[in-house]
Amino acid sequence: MSPKHDIEFALNGIRQRVTVPATMNTLEMLRDVLGLTGTKYGCGEGECGACTIQVDGVSMNSCLMFAVDCDGRELTTIEGLANDTRADALRASFVEHGAVQCGFCTPGMVMQADHLLHKHPEPDAETIKAGIEGNICRCTGYKKIVDAIACVGCTNK
């Protein structure tokens, strides 16, 4: 068993103190230690985006980040996005535009889209596509996801 570390960080606005093995990644910590299962495992190798969270306001693949590196940071997961009106609009837009089928990619997609809209409040389709390039969806063919994000963007105008 690998050595353990005590770390402290903010998760969705709440202070957390946990002890994690040095080898554990943030995705495992969120799901297995903290019981937040909205963040998904799709590959564990940074290739699918299902595990996307925001760390200090920047989107990250949580499977690629060691849990110990969360020390002192601010993490937001899909569960934490709930208190934000722009995020409400984003989620509602995903629902209304049919951007959700099996829904397994959706939490990661929403987290990535939220980050994208921070950087580009009114993104065009090409910017959106490039922005979600790292998020795989096997069901929708992406078009409705792009439309959903664009529609939130246009209400930002």
Binding site: M1, R31, T37, G38, T39, K40, Y41, G42, C43, G44, E45, E47, C48, A50, T77, I78, E79, L81, A82, R91, F94, V95, E96, H97, G98, V100, Q101, C102, G103, F104, C105, T106, P107, V110, E126, I128, K129, A130, I132, E133, G134, N135, I136, C137, R138, C139, T140, G141, Y142, K143, K144, I145, V146
Partner: protein, 799 residues
């Protein structure tokens, strides 16, 4: 009528059919609350893991599990020797969950562990020692059918231990399955032909890549009953099969299906890991959860079946098709799953997509040491369509006819019965062809691109079309193709729809609710759907063959109609009129003539409950499509309705690099009728992009039985920046048997893309590609004359 209305309120007529209704479970999914199988944990749960073969083909000489058993935290270690009663599984019952004497592929399961944590289970696997003796690897299906080829499934040697079952008694050759079909006389057909073309096509391995990896949780209760959390697409059939594998009473098996992270056909068979999970739970007397890693998902999931196919067709100068002769060789892999039966669907495309007077079709699926193939959206039809639709273009060119005109001349029409005996009661094929062609400006672009082909410049534009025929009204694969519904209305006039139909992300719960609401005049918000627990839901044959909207939809409508009759009868009595004078609309009982509100439905139902003749509005309905069944010669119908589509693909080919960009897809789909426009667009767009992956980027590389790219880095799925512009039209042929006229759509949109892309590349460059996928290297080589023409001489079986 003695209605005491203060101010008569009327409700205008309206319909939900064809509107855009968001998926009912989408809000939960978009906020990360949905609990998939990976997110469910039971108290006392152990973690299961499987040791897979380190060899492709070998005899197992010895297995030593003692060190693994001694590891703290390990509860159970199982090998084949620990489950002497295990029974053969799969479509042909040709393999055991745990392999005892021989491994035949890289994925083969040798041992399994249940432990306190995943880490401990993984550590235990590393401590298991297996001694192998290598056997010759058969990696090429052509080698597998050669006379004298080593046998993959020879008869078991020596006497078997008492009570032991054998996977099968052994086979004298490596042929897993054969299909032979004919109508007419191809010799005569060929004699009547002005043009005859023969080509060999080669289709590759791809896999489903569901975003949610496979998994299962199994638990036996104190009395030995089994509860499974499973992602199966066919819970009711699997209930019986699981019981058989465990030698227990099926009545004591319950399957709960949590929401699933994608299906696409992958969950249609029972796989070794599922039975192994049950063995572990039984031995440990604790719940066991077994979930794959992504690498394991690649290695141990079924694939789409690779096919080698030689097609010979002919036509007359006027464009009339004369015959078609087909030989295919399917790589079955080491064991038999549904992939082996895909020739059954391919046959329909060859015999019946167009009017072909003479057709001869032979196919063999052979055992090799490769991964085994399962069912995958389209079920053989992508492979068949790839060949047929390319050859349609070749023949059109040979007689100097426009590809659209050539297809229109041979296209099926409503009312036709094909050589195979399939009857097309609703057929919008011609409309599909014309609509897709007009919307994409096909004929003009096709001619322009061909004319500009030899102009200078390395970027060439191409346009290509392909069409398809697929089952759209269920598929009579099992003795029954039915689905049951229970409908219950509470005293607020809210409805619980309990359906056998499984939801795998396609939106069945929404479309079924919509059909019920349409009958009962209720808003979607009045519906709750229960669809995931075999202890509650009525029987259904499973989600496959694009059948759910058609079959479960008709079942749901049947239940709703019964409820409506019941409600209107009571209302008629109460308000002193006939039931025919009333209707349901906007949550109210109304006068059919003018929409005037008679009473709120909830009020009526509450009155019903609290009267001395208390009654519940509760109905059941079972729908089985009008009986269709093929004989041994495969003649006859297979579905109550058929779906049609034409897709036009536009590409840009870079002749310097071989890179093909898909610019636009124009699709026209005969779906009978659009029910939920949002849902159906989503199915089509998702299918198009899945087809794009099949055509351009996805390729599971298997070398000598070993998978080279079991990860998303090297197995390239389409990402957002690569998607084409999509223009999708729906042809509403209003099927007489379909729910509100609708037919199935699930598989159709993925089917034509590869074929249409091949035709587009040929239009752009003048070079035709016969094997998939169209990677830059393959395209570059073909464009620069480095690809010898593919030819597979059809294998003729000994009589």
């Amino acid at each position: 009528m003695n209605v005491v209305a203060k101010k008569p309120r009327t409700i205008p007529e309206s319909s939900l059919i064809g509107t855009r209704i968001p998926k009912m479970d989408a809000p939960e999914k978009a906020s990360g609350r949905t609990r998939y199988i990976h997110d469910i944990n039971l108290s006392g749960q152990l973690y299961g893991k499987i040791l897979r073969s380190a060899r492709v083909h070998a005899r197992i000489v010895a297995i030593d599990t003692s060190a693994a058993k001694a590891l703290p935290g390990v509860h159970v270690v199982l090998t084949a020797a620990d489950v002497p009663d295990q029974r053969p599984i799969g479509v042909a019952r040709d393999h055991f969950p745990l392999k005892g004497d021989r491994v035949r592929s890289q994925r083969d399961e040798i041992a399994a562990v249940a432990a306190e944590s995943e880490e401990i289970a993984a550590a235990a696997l590393k401590l298991i020692k297996v001694v192998y003796e290598d056997l010759p690897v058969i990696a090429d299906p052509e080698d597998a059918i050669k006379p004298g080829a080593p046998l993959l499934h020879p008869a078991p040697a020596g006497a078997q231990p008492a009570g032991a079952t054998v996977a099968h008694r052994g086979k004298a050759d490596n042929i897993a399955m054969r299909f032979d079909y004919a109508h007419g006389d191809v010799v005569q057909g060929e004699a009547e032909s002005d043009v005859v073309i023969e080509d060999t096509f080669k289709l590759h391995y791809v896999t489903h890549c569901c975003m949610g990896v496979s998994g299962m949780i199994a638990e036996f209760d104190a009395s030995g009953s089994l509860l499974m959390y499973s992602n199966t697409q066919v819970p009711f059939l699997h209930k019986r099969e699981f019981a058989e594998y465990l030698n227990m009473d099926p009545a004591r098996v319950r399957i709960i299906q949590p929401p699933i992270g994608g299906g696409f056909g992958s969950k249609l068979d029972i796989y070794p890991f599922e039975v192994i999970c049950l063995f572990l739970a039984r031995a440990a007397r604790r719940p066991v959860k077994l979930v794959f890693s992504r690498e394991e998902e690649f290695l141990a999931s079924p694939t789409r079946q690779p096919v080698l196919l030689t097609l010979r067709s002919g036509c007359k100068k006027d464009g009339t098709l004369t015959f078609r002769q087909v030989h295919t060789l399917h790589d079955n892999g080491a064991y038999t799953s549904w992939g082996a039966t895909t020739p059954f669907v391919m046959m329909q495309t060859f015999s019946s997509l167009y009017r072909v007077p003479h057709c001869d079709y032979h196919t063999v699926a052979v055992y090799t040491n490769n991964p085994y193939a399962g069912s995958f959206r389209g079920y053989g039809n992508l492979q068949a369509t790839f060949a047929i639709e390319q050859q349609m273009d070749e023949m059109a060119a040979a007689i100097g006819m426009d590809p659209l005109a050539f297809r229109l001349k041979n296209a099926q029409h409503t009312g036709e019965v094909t050589g195979q005996g399939m009857e097309f009661k609703s057929c919008g094929f011609t409309d599909c062809l014309n609509t897709a062609a007009q919307r994409s400006d096909f004929s003009r672009k096709f001619a322009d691109n061909a004319a500009e082909r030899n102009q200078p410049g390395h970027l060439k534009r191409g346009i290509g079309m392909a069409s398809m025929l697929h089952v759209g009204g269920g598929a009579k694969i099992y003795p029954s193709d039915g689905c049951g519904t229970i409908l219950k209305m509470d005293d607020f006039a809210n409805v619980t729809l309990i359906t056998g139909a499984s939801e795998i992300g396609q939106g069945s719960e929404t479309v079924l609710s919509q059909l019920v609401c349409e009958e009962l005049g209720l808003p979607i918000s009045a519906l709750t759907v229960v669809n995931n627990d075999t202890a509650i839901t009525p029987w259904d044959v499973g989600v496959h063959a694009s059948r759910t909207t058609f079959i479960a939809g008709n079942s749901a409508i049947g239940a709703a109609k019964k409820a409506k009759t019941k409600i209107l009868a009571v209302a008629a009595q109460k308000f002193g009129c006939t039931a025919e004078e009333l209707d349901l609309r906007g949550g109210c009982v109304i006068k059919a003539a003018d929409g005037e509100v008679v009473t709120e439905l909830s009020k009526l139902i509450r009155n019903l409950h609290f009267s001395d003749k208390a009654e519940l509005v509760m109905t059941t309905f079972y729908y089985e499509p009008p009986s269709v069944h093929q004989g041994k010669d495969y003649k006859g119908d297979v579905s109550a309705a058929y779906a049609w589509a034409t897709q036009v693909v536009e590409v840009e080919v870079d002749t310097d690099t071989g890179i093909v960009r898909m610019l636009k897809v124009t699709g026209a789909h005969d779906v009978g009728r659009v029910l939920n426009r949002l849902g159906i667009e989503g199915q089509v767009e998702g299918g198009i992009v899945m087809g794009q992956g099949y055509a351009l980027t996805e390729n599971l590389m298997i070398e000598n039985g070993v998978m080279k790219n079991p990860n998303f880095r090297d197995y390239k799925l389409i990402t957002a920046p690569e998607i084409p512009e999509m223009d999708v039209s729906f042809i509403e042929s209003m099927d007489g048997e379909g729910p509100q006229g609708a037919k199935g759509i699930g598989e159709a949109p993925a089917i034509c893309i590869a074929a249409a892309t091949a035709n587009a590349i040929a239009n752009a460059t003048g070079v035709r590609l016969y094997d998939l996928p169209f990677t830059p290297e393959r395209v570059y080589r073909a464009l620069h004359g480095q690809t010898p023409k593919l030819y597979w001489k059809p294998w003729v079986p000994a009589a």
